[in-house]
């Protein structure tokens, strides 16, 4: 019963070897910039398809209650895997794919730790999850999302918010932003970093799409468009 817990649920990318290799072994990637550093187009894909699902993932992970597992660690590793797989073209249901990836990471940790029995993960639930509903997330409208982002930015420290307005809304370059604010470019850079950092936490706490988070609690939603309920990557 417990043994099935390490099946290839999450062999990402239709057999692509990159995703199935144990990603926590750092030397596998040493010196390979393409593997380590997310490409722009993949970062865009992550922004469009994975960020809105991060609340779902965190809710799901929090319910695992596996001893010794840190949710933030798993989330970071999941992003690393999704950044490194050869192709995401085959990913039809990002949510199922994301959860399967996280699940695979958990299994890798459990196998390694020796401390926690693999049975700490409930097998029946995993089977249910294996082919569970993966209806396409209904994203909040652009307008709602923009509003939520606005709310997050409104809570930024004043200088950070100012930099974001000038850079992102008015579209100024870093140099022009620095001139406008009468600060150095490196200060602008630090403010931008701070804003990204705060946004990272904001997404971890509440997400950018509240609907995505609430869906995570219901495993039996049927896609209104009648799409297949399964995603079992081979």
């Amino acid at each position: 019963m417990g043994k099935t817990a390490v099946r290839d649920y999450a062999r990402p990318g239709a057999g692509g070897p990159a995703g199935s290799a144990a990603p926590r072994i750092p030397h596998l990637r040493l010196g390979n910039r393409d593997m380590m550093r997310v490409k722009n187009e993949r970062a865009l894909w992550l922004a469009q398809h994975i960020l809105p699902l991060e609340p779902s993932l965190r809710v799901w992970l929090a319910r695992r209650r596996v001893v010794g597992l840190d949710v933030d660690d798993i989330v970071q590793e999941a992003y690393a895997r999704l950044a490194a797989i050869d192709s995401v073209e085959g990913v039809r249901y990002p949510r199922a794919y994301l959860l399967q990836t996280a699940y695979s990471i958990i299994c890798t940790h459990l196998r390694r730790s020796q401390v926690v029995s693999i049975r700490a993960v409930d097998d029946a639930e995993l089977s249910r999850f294996e082919c569970q509903e993966a209806s396409p997330e209904r994203r909040a409208s652009d307008r709602d999302e923009l509003h939520r982002i606005g709310e997050i930015i409104a809570r930024f420290p004043k200088q950070v918010a100012m930099v974001f307005m000038l850079r992102r809304v008015e579209g100024l370059s870093q140099r022009d932003t620095a001139q406008r604010m009468n600060v150095s470019e490196s200060t602008v850079e630090k403010h931008m970093a701070k804003g990204i950092r705060l946004f990272m936490d904001a997404i971890a706490r509440s997400g950018i799409s509240a609907r995505g988070a609430s869906k995570a609690r219901n495993a039996n939603i049927t896609g209104s468009d009648g799409q297949s309920r399964k995603q079992c990557p081979d």
Binding site: G31, R33, R37, L51, D142, I153, K158, E189
Partner: protein, 75 residues
């Protein structure tokens, strides 16, 4: 395990790298520094990917306008 770098610290560094890459080309020294930083922990690679995604996500604002101006309630 005891002295593992915290996720928060990793996020700090990832955000800074994302901000740099977003704003300008990295210097050769920075390129090397970033590679070295990424190479030692897969969590760093993930945090960097996430920070880049967030940076791009926020950049969509640029294209989508200025709806939220005036939302500031702080003061």
């Amino acid at each position: 395990m005891a002295n593992r770098e915290s996720s928060a610290r990793i996020n700090d560094a990832a955000a800074l790298w994302a901000a740099r890459i977003d704003a300008r080309a990295l210097s050769p020294e920075e390129e090397i520094e970033l590679d070295a930083w990424l190479s030692t922990d897969v969590r760093r690679q993930g945090a960097f990917a996430r920070a880049r995604a967030i940076s791009i996500y926020m950049a969509q604002l640029q294209a989508q306008g200025r709806d939220f101006q005036g939302d500031r309630s702080g003061e």
